[in-house]
């Protein structure tokens, strides 16, 4: 395990940046409202950022490993299917993760 000073420093940096990002727009609301570019970024970035996060998550699947990514692949399909069907985020995540865990630990 890395030493405690490093973890504390990394956490402090992460918290400071996160809080600053959350606070800044309240301080410059008028300015941002007038900026057409920031307005467009505000419209596009929420979907853009989570799409990249999804690609990142999918890329962590290890297709070359012993199980060839089968548990995760099945989990993704179950997650999408549940989410298209029921639109309930908690249910979709729980169902997909359960399938992945069962396949990863028991079946194969």
């Amino acid at each position: 395990m890395p030493d405690a000073g490093y973890i504390a420093a990394a956490l402090a940096i992460g918290v400071a940046i996160t809080v600053a990002l959350r606070a800044i727009p309240f301080g410059m609301k008028a300015l941002v409202r007038e900026s057409a570019l920031l307005h467009d970024l505000g419209r596009w970035m929420p979907l853009g950022a989570v799409t990249i996060l999804a690609v990142y998550g999918l890329a962590t699947i290890d297709f070359a490993g012993g199980q060839h990514g089968v548990p995760e692949g099945a989990g993704v399909m179950v997650t999408i299917a549940f989410h298209v069907w029921r639109r309930n985020a908690v249910l979709s995540i729980a169902a997909g993760t359960a399938v992945c865990l069962v396949l990863a630990n028991l079946a194969l």
Partner: protein, 243 residues
């Protein structure tokens, strides 16, 4: 005195009724986070500490991996900035003016995670009370941190050998993407982001998020100026036509 206590209780009841399912979901995700943290060899208390002081779900999952790998602090800073930069846009439509009191406003800004924004900014601000906003955020925060505590405790003892827990994060991102696309079915944005992600994976797999989010920002700036130029052209054409 009695009145305000009664009002506070009813704010809590309304907040719990409207957002309690998401509290449960965050508690469950928090368990996953706690298990993930201990599976990296960290002590049981680290997950609830991170979740309590940071309260930013997706970046916490990513940070744990970076901490375990001993990533440089500059990389931690840049990743946090780029992954959480979307929060810059939350403040623009979050009804902070409905929250009373400086300390409460400060807490409300601190606890402005994705879920808090989605649950609160989607409501008509005139129907929101200070108490409802704060209870919603406190409920999310407490669920996330207590889930991480439970996961840390359970993970350290029972689930140490469990494989595939990191999948929870992938499932979360997939679900958030589907929700974001439903909210704003903008195919060009999704295509640009998917392309940026794949390109970054191919070119710089070690710093995929940094490169992908930076490339996407540049693509959006280009898209913005192209839109403006074409709008401008249409405008001048129309002006010429009218003349």
């Amino acid at each position: 005195m009695n009145d305000s206590a009664g009002e506070a209780r009813s704010d809590l009841v309304v907040a719990a009724r409207e957002t309690g399912v998401i509290w449960l979901g965050l508690f469950a995700l928090g368990i996953g986070f706690g298990v993930l943290v201990t599976s990296h060899g960290f002590p049981w208390w680290l997950a609830p500490v991170i979740s309590a002081v940071m309260f930013a779900g997706s970046v916490e999952f990513i940070l744990v991996g970076m901490l375990a790998a001993g990533a440089p602090l500059a990389a931690v800073a840049l990743t946090t900035f780029l992954v959480n930069a979307r929060h810059l846009f939350y403040g623009l439509s979050f009804p902070l003016h409905r929250v009373r009191g400086r300390l409460r406003k400060a807490y409300s800004v601190f606890a402005l995670c994705d879920e808090a924004f989605a649950l609160i900014a989607s409501k008509n601000p005139d129907t929101l009370t200070s108490g409802r906003i704060l209870w919603t955020q406190l409920g999310l925060h407490a669920s996330w941190a207590s889930g991480a505590l439970a996961g840390g405790l359970v993970g350290a003892t029972l689930l140490g050998g469990l494989k595939g827990m990191g999948f929870l994060l992938t499932a979360l991102f997939v679900v958030l993407t589907i929700d974001a696309f439903r909210e704003n079915p903008d195919k060009l944005t999704a295509a640009l982001a998917g392309g940026a992600g794949l390109l970054a994976l191919a070119l710089t797999p070690g710093s995929m998020l940094l490169v992908a989010l930076s490339a996407l920002s540049l693509a959006f700036v280009a898209r913005h100026s192209l839109n403006r130029r074409s709008r401008h052209c249409r405008g001048t054409n129309r002006a010429a036509h009218n003349a």
